[in-house]
């Protein structure tokens, strides 16, 4: 028996499948490289398509969020593999980097894809366009910048914290002190996310409250409706 087996007690995410492997509770860095293959295949496919059609990404709110999420998915895959490497795990295990990885999966990938999906679905379900393009832009910019600040602070903080933890002569309270400024960075990013979420919520309430144009019929649901997604 070794610690690796103990880790399996909650290191369950390592046998998941694609996104489900990303959505595990996280925390334990066991063998995490199993999902890397599909990641890179999905990633290469998606990113190639996106780079050929970059104008469309700038146009569509949905595509912007989805692309951000897709790139994050690939990054999460790379991080997952890295965290499985013994030397990396020795430093980053149990540090802020663990939280950073979870945030990469849950926010930078999953939430961003969900936001994009909601921006795509709502106009088609309600048969109304989004009321404010500005609010969507605010949401995207704050969410993207906010989560990047969060992740940068946490990954960097994890590295600093992990290195200090592995110097046995550094007192523990000093290590906690080192983590502080990175947590401040995370709060800053979180504040930006909050602004984005308020913009999103406002737009969401507005689209629900907005009257429906008389000309649209249920048949529109089955038509492509690019004009419903607000172009920036």
């Amino acid at each position: 028996l070794d610690t690796r087996r103990v880790r399996q007690l909650d290191g369950c995410e390592h046998f998941g499948w694609w996104a489900s492997s990303r959505l595990g509770t996280g925390g334990q860095h066991g063998c995490r490289d199993d999902a890397a293959g599909p990641d890179f295949i999905i990633g290469a496919n998606h990113h190639g398509t996106i780079f050929k059609n970059f104008a469309a990404v700038k146009q569509s709110a949905t595509l912007r969020f989805i692309s951000f999420g897709a790139v994050s998915f690939t990054i999460a895959g790379v991080v997952q593999v890295a965290l499985g490497i013994r030397g990396v795990s020795e430093i980053l295990h149990f540090t802020l980097a663990t939280q950073a990885y979870n945030d990469t999966v849950l926010y930078a990938f999953f939430s961003m894809v969900m936001f994009g999906s909601i921006y795509y679905l709502m106009p088609r379900i309600l048969l109304k366009g989004w009321p404010s393009a500005m609010l969507i832009n605010v949401h995207f910019v704050t969410a993207a910048v906010g989560i990047v600040i969060c992740l940068a602070s946490l990954y960097l903080g994890g590295l600093v914290q992990g290195k200090a933890l592995n110097e046995s002569e550094t007192p523990f309270l000093e290590v906690v002190g080192l983590a502080k400024k990175f947590l401040f960075g995370q709060s800053l990013g979180g504040l930006l996310l909050l602004v984005g979420h308020v913009a999103f919520a406002l737009n969401f309430v507005l689209i629900l409250a907005k009257p429906r144009a008389t000309r649209v019929t249920a048949a529109d649901l089955f038509q492509p409706a690019p004009e419903m997604e607000v172009a920036s």
Partner: protein, 122 residues
């Protein structure tokens, strides 16, 4: 074209594959793990928590201590857990065998607390 069977089988095998890895293989590996009985001491290890310690565990859960504390010690030579006196050996699966809810944690914003009783007793 009716694709229901294909969709069903796809979902079924996806979930079955995850279940095999998450539940079945772990059950095969650890399902039969029992406390170690030391004939000399006539005791079974790990020992079960005393009443006060069990109450303490409830407080630990209630306050969300798990957010910043781990309860798993890394092996000597891997990290500095032993030098920080968090434990003389690494944690193993059997250590948690009596715990319905092992609180092993994932972040060390605070120190590891697996053996805190032993070191604060000194």
């Amino acid at each position: 074209m009716n694709r229901t069977p294909l969709v069903f089988l796809g979902i079924f095998f996806t979930l079955a594959f995850s279940w095999t890895g998450l539940v079945l293989t772990n059950q095969i590996s650890y399902g039969a793990l029992r406390p170690f009985v030391d004939e000399g001491d006539n005791k079974a290890f790990p020992e079960s928590l005393s009443g006060v310690a069990a109450q303490g565990k409830l407080v630990y859960e209630d306050l969300g201590c798990i957010v910043c504390h781990t309860q798993q010690v890394r092996r000597p030579g891997f990290g500095t857990d032993d030098k920080r006196h968090w434990g003389d050996r690494q944690s193993v699966a059997r250590d948690y065998v009596r715990e319905a809810r092992p609180l092993i944690g994932s972040s060390r914003l605070g120190p590891d607390l697996r053996n805190v009783g032993a070191r604060q007793n000194r």
